[in-house]
């Protein structure tokens, strides 16, 4: 928990620092300044759990398989295979507080959902279940939807990338 308080602090400080600078206030920064840096934080709460949180009961599919619906725009190692799950970081890593978003269709209910592809960071690459699907992913100059970027950049532990989450943040339709 401590680590994420720190991450939140970091972003708060980072925002404060940037109100007087142009660097964070550009075409990308517009989003940030309009809403506060916190809106780039799809992480609402991070809590430690004794086990990886499984997928929701009304879902179908195998989160250890690249075919699983939430992974429609992922690019990296699936945290499900790395000691975590689609929404849980493996032990000893730190979720990236900022990240990029994709939209995937859940075949069970036919709805589109906004998926947050937070990276889990601070350890060398997991190396298990590499999955690259890229649906709706954009070039790196459109970072809010770019999966070629290492999103560990906002973490305390550094930019080393371990694996990727695919977290349901809400319906897109």
């Amino acid at each position: 928990m401590r680590r994420f308080d720190r991450a939140a602090e970091y972003l708060a400080r980072s925002t404060a620092r940037n109100t007087s600078r142009r660097g964070f206030i550009g075409r990308l920064g517009a989003i940030v300044t309009a809403t506060g840096a916190a809106t780039l934080l799809p992480i609402s709460r991070v809590r430690a759990e004794k086990a990886a949180v499984p997928i929701q009961v009304q879902e179908e599919g195998d989160p250890n398989s690249c075919d699983y619906w939430r992974y429609c725009a992922v690019d990296g190692f699936l945290c499900s295979c790395c000691g975590g799950s689609a929404s849980s970081c493996p032990p000893g890593t730190e979720p990236s507080p900022i990240t990029w978003l994709g939209t995937c269709r859940n075949p069970t209910d036919g709805r589109n959902y906004v998926i947050s592809y937070n990276d889990c960071c601070g350890k060398a690459a997991c190396g298990r279940c590499n999955c690259s699907r890229d649906e709706g992913a954009t070039p790196v100059y459109q970072p809010t939807t770019a999966n070629d970027l290492d999103w560990c950049l906002g973490t305390q532990t550094g930019v080393a990338y371990h694996c990727s989450l695919s977290v349901v943040t809400g319906p897109a339709d």
Binding site: S44, V46, E59, C82, P91, G102, T103, Y113, G136, A172
Partner: protein
Amino acid sequence: MYADRLKGLPLFMAALGLLVSSADARPAKKAAPPKVPVLATEDVTLVELKDRMPPHWVVVNDVVFTHLIDGRSYIVDADSGTYLGTVPGGHSHVGVQFTPDASTLLIPATFFSRGSRGERTDVITWFGLKDLMPGAEVVIPPKRVQALPLLSSIPLTDDGRFMLIYNFTPEQTMTVVDAAAKTLVGEFETPGCALAHMTGPRSFMMQCADGSMQSGALAEDGKITLGATTPPLFEREDPASDKPVRIASSRWLFITFSGAVAEVDNATGTPTPGARWKLTAAGEEAWRPGGLQPYAYHAPSGLLYVLMHEGGPGTHKHPGTEIWVFDVAAKKRVARLPLETPSTAVSISNDADPLLYTALFGSGTLVVRRPSDAAILRKVEGLGSDITLIQAPPVAPAAATAP
């Protein structure tokens, strides 16, 4: 704290037409009115492991021979075959040492300031099992031996108080770290001798270039003094492996490349040779032990598991095609278990109802077996590149536990 502010985020972004536009790019397919409830918004969570390592969890070490600076250990639940997580090593990764209560992993590691070049830093880092995060760190002299992994190059005293690190520069010394105070005690010369095989709370034996054994002792402050030496116990033509087997607090089996066994006891502080016997019977001379971790001893049953293969001199690293099981007290083979896949490492859990583990260097696969017949219970695949050593945690809490 961000939960409320974030509730409207997806909607906001959809209104912005920017972040979620990828959905629009796909053919809009009108879904039938869904009968299932909308999926809930999820929190990002972080998995915690247990306070202590259960007997059937196991640490699998990967030296990553082609990317030696990125060695690591994987933690696996061998009962379920589940991959639980990883702890980082460094250049020429050996393995971990468990604290006696199995709550913490101590990992010696070597780093360079510029990847594979630049200033070298050697450290010991404490990783709590529960969160696998790097905790305390002690910087040690940058002299740790860089070799194929040997657990006797990084031993912890039985009570967890001191860690010993064998150095080879080619000067031979031993670094001592106070694992309770988390401080460096010092570096001590051990000329001509290598490794430290613990033989009591504060004593150990070293193997020397001429085939002799050297005893050593740690004072209460961790300082090392060297003691008695034996005459050479082994011929140069058939040296004892540098991977001996501890069968009791002060007693070790030293096993030669050809499979000759010599017991040495350091209970008195003077290494004392004991029984000598052979792994092979008459007619079995073509069989030899081999691999990177050829021996596993199961204390509760007194059984020794050995990876054996057919081969001549110079095959001491060849994978085993069979596991031979010996009753150490009786000095007698009790089983001969063929393996469907050759293996370079064998290990066994330390509880009364054990699991047997094997792995082949380069396979990335841990095989979990029934000890009685080596039958495969399950396989855990995708464990990196180059599995070297498989480590089962201690089971019974040791007499003293380090803070």
